[in-house]
């Protein structure tokens, strides 16, 4: 994947193009870009052919993992990847760890796993399972496993944990990603954690930027604070995804 900045405005607004999109050949997308939200692999209430009528062809699609996780084994047997399974293979597919429209309950992530909530309840996902899912799903872009539970607003201890754990997950995901033939065309994104604690955010951004990630996901903005402190810390040449500025779906 190649991210080319075309222009930056005085206040920092950026226009860019993303090309070399792996299995999508010479297609490009321009940014700022909005991903189309899906739930269990469908755009709520709209069939694919109806969405085509909006004139958006090969639009990028956001697939939150929680409601798709229970299909892991089915996808392994299916072997053609989630894009094909959902009849969305001509679209750019981004697989995120959580569903950003739903705030998961606090306090359910442990050191070695993250909790996701599927239809039948809580599912614990460690790095091994997570990467096995990526290999079965074969997304274009995916967010590395991350702990986005930064605890109560202002809590330093939990915020620090979320940063530490996320970096540890990221390193292991990167290792496995590198070894994986199947994920050759997929790009991995690192998540900036740290809740509302500026120093933790700064640490997370600086450390994540040192890893060979294709871009950054600014996590936890629906629960903790503004963007200002975080954005400048991400390397200029890299792409960023802002996950859900549509806060509070309540």
């Amino acid at each position: 994947m190649k991210f080319s900045l075309r222009s930056v405005s005085q206040r920092g607004g950026r226009l860019a193009t993303i090309s070399e999109l792996g299995r999508h050949g010479d297609k490009t997308v321009t940014t700022p870009m909005c991903l189309v939200f899906t739930q269990a692999g469908t755009i709520p209430h709209l069939t694919n052919d109806m969405v085509q009528k909006l004139g958006k062809h090969a639009y990028p699609v956001h697939l939150p993992l929680p409601l798709l996780l229970e299909s892991h084994e089915i996808l392994q047997k299916y072997s053609n990847g989630i894009g094909d399974f959902l009849a969305l293979k001509h679209h750019l597919l981004y697989l995120s760890v959580q569903d950003s429209t739903i705030r998961p309950p606090e306090g359910f992530n442990e050191k070695s796993f993250v909790s996701l909530w599927g239809r039948s309840g809580r599912l614990n996902v460690d790095v091994d399972k997570f990467m096995s899912v990526q290999e079965a799903f074969k997304p274009d872009w995916y967010q590395a496993l991350c702990d986005s539970d930064a605890g109560k607003v202002g809590s330093r201890k939990r915020a620090h944990k979320s940063v530490e754990r996320t970096l540890a997950y990221l390193d292991r995901c990167l290792e496995k990603h590198k070894e994986s033939e199947v994920l050759r065309h997929s790009c991995i994104f690192g998540s900036i954690e740290g809740g509302s604690v500026a120093e933790e955010r700064e640490l997370s951004a600086k450390e994540t930027a040192k890893r060979p990630v294709a871009g950054f996901v600014l996590e936890g903005l629906d629960t903790n604070g503004p963007l200002d402190s975080v954005l400048p810390l991400c390397e200029n040449g890299k792409k960023e995804i802002i996950q859900s500025i549509l806060v509070d779906s309540k």
């Binding site: 739930q39 269990a40 692999g41 469908t42 755009i43 709520p44 209430h45 709209l46 069939t47 694919n48 052919d49 109806m50 229970e70 299909s71 089915i74 047997k77 299916y78 399974f85 959902l86 009849a87 239809r119």
Partner: protein, 396 residues
């Protein structure tokens, strides 16, 4: 017998008649488009097929669909339709529409309704007002809605009851037909169909057939059936009606039905059908297939990577596997839409193959083939064996 009158709003051309059964394939020309019969009309109660756009419906090959006067008359109401210029414009449907009279819903949906010679009095559940639906009022609302085919207000009784009420309803339906004919203002653009009543009593049905066929209406419906009565009685009333009704006018069997019913009743000489079944069962996760039904909620579909039907050309079957549909059925609204699209296509394809078989004069073979797929162990329902035998088809 009066000389046939040219109804400018409808012409029926019989293309082929089965040499064995009473089946016929026709071309029914209506104000908005031509309809090939036998035809299945999906039900779009509130002016839409739940979840489907008119364009998606058009793509399936559907040429005529139903709207319900009771629902549309309450919301948005006749006045709005007058302002807009009718339901076709309102919902963006370029092909044909048929509206029922509102009578059936009033009786089936409303706890307290009272039928008198004047009309049906009931309490509207939407706004708790007392309303009287007379034949005149029903036609007035239907004139505003503007469907290509409109139905008389009939006195509907449940097919499971017997006794003097049935005869009373039959007699009243004839009188209400005359009042509807009198009240109907748009004879050049809308076709008023009569509805044969008489319950499961062949004497009463015959009286009704005799009387109603004297009236100069462009088409006839066979009503008062498909209400939970014994199928062994049902088919006899259908075939009695088609024996009697004039050949040059369409016959509409109301509220039918399941795929097997469509195949058998086409053999008995019916041209038009309507039923909520295919669309309703779709919303509950059941797809229609040549061998019967496929319940996508069942665990057996979880790892089935085939489409619902490998021979179906609908957009659902072209894109999705049973395994995928299993993950979303009854949980995501898109699942209802995808299954509805499939079931409508199934019905359209079924009717087209019925028509083609009749035109090729191979309907008995078609029926046998269809029934064997639906009942592989040959455990045919008794009524189908009898009904088909009555039109010279022996199920093997």
């Amino acid at each position: 017998m009066s000389a046939p009158v040219n109804h400018s709003a409808l012409t029926l051309k019989v293309l082929a008649e089965c040499s064995v059964t009473k089946a016929r394939a026709c071309q029914l020309s209506l104000p908005h488009s031509v309809v090939d019969t036998p035809v299945f009309m999906p039900v779009g109660t509130q002016g839409s097929l739940k979840g489907i756009t008119p364009e998606q419906l058009e793509n399936s090959g559907c040429q005529i669909m139903l709207g319900n006067t009771y629902h549309l008359g309450s919301n948005p109401g006749a006045e709005l339709f007058d302002k807009v210029g009718g339901l076709h414009k309102f919902m963006g449907w370029k092909r044909n529409l048929l509206t029922d009279s509102g009578g059936f819903q009033m009786v089936s949906l409303v706890a307290l309704s009272e039928v008198t010679e004047e009309g049906v009095r009931f309490s509207n559940p939407y706004d708790a007002k007392d309303m009287l639906l007379t034949p005149e009022k029903s036609i007035e609302i239907q004139n505003s809605i503007g469907a290509d085919i409109i139905m008389q207000l009939d006195d509907v009784v449940s097919s499971t009851i017997s006794g003097p009420r049935v005869e009373e309803a039959m007699g009243r339906s004839i009188r209400w037909l005359d009042r509807c004919i009198e009240a109907h203002k748009k004879t050049k653009t809308q076709n008023l169909f009569a509805i044969i009543q008489g319950g499961l009593d062949s004497r009463l049905r015959t009286i009704c057939l005799n009387e109603m066929s004297k009236r100069n209406v462009p088409g006839f419906a066979i009503g008062g059936l498909s209400g939970g009565e014994d199928k062994n009685d049902f088919w006899k009333m259908v075939t009695l009606s088609t024996d009697f009704l004039p050949k040059h006018k369409p016959r509409y069997l109301m509220g039918v039905g399941f795929p097997v019913d469509l195949v058998v009743c086409s053999a008995l000489g019916c041209d038009m059908f309507d039923c909520v079944y295919p669309t309703r069962t779709a919303r509950f996760g059941t797809a229609l297939i040549p061998t019967g039904k496929l319940d996508l909620k069942k665990k057996g579909c979880a790892e089935d990577f085939r489409p619902i039907d490998e021979n179906c050309s609908c957009s659902t079957c072209r894109q999705f596997t049973r395994a995928y549909l299993h993950t979303i059925v009854t949980k995501e609204t898109v699942a209802s839409i995808l299954l509805t699209i499939h079931n409508i296509q199934y019905q359209m394809d079924l009717m087209r193959s019925i028509k083609e078989a009749i035109i090729q004069d191979k309907y008995p073979e078609f029926v046998n083939d269809f029934m064997q797929k639906q009942f592989p162990t040959r455990n045919y329902p008794e009524w189908t064996v009898d009904a088909l035998a009555s039109v010279n088809i022996k199920l093997s």
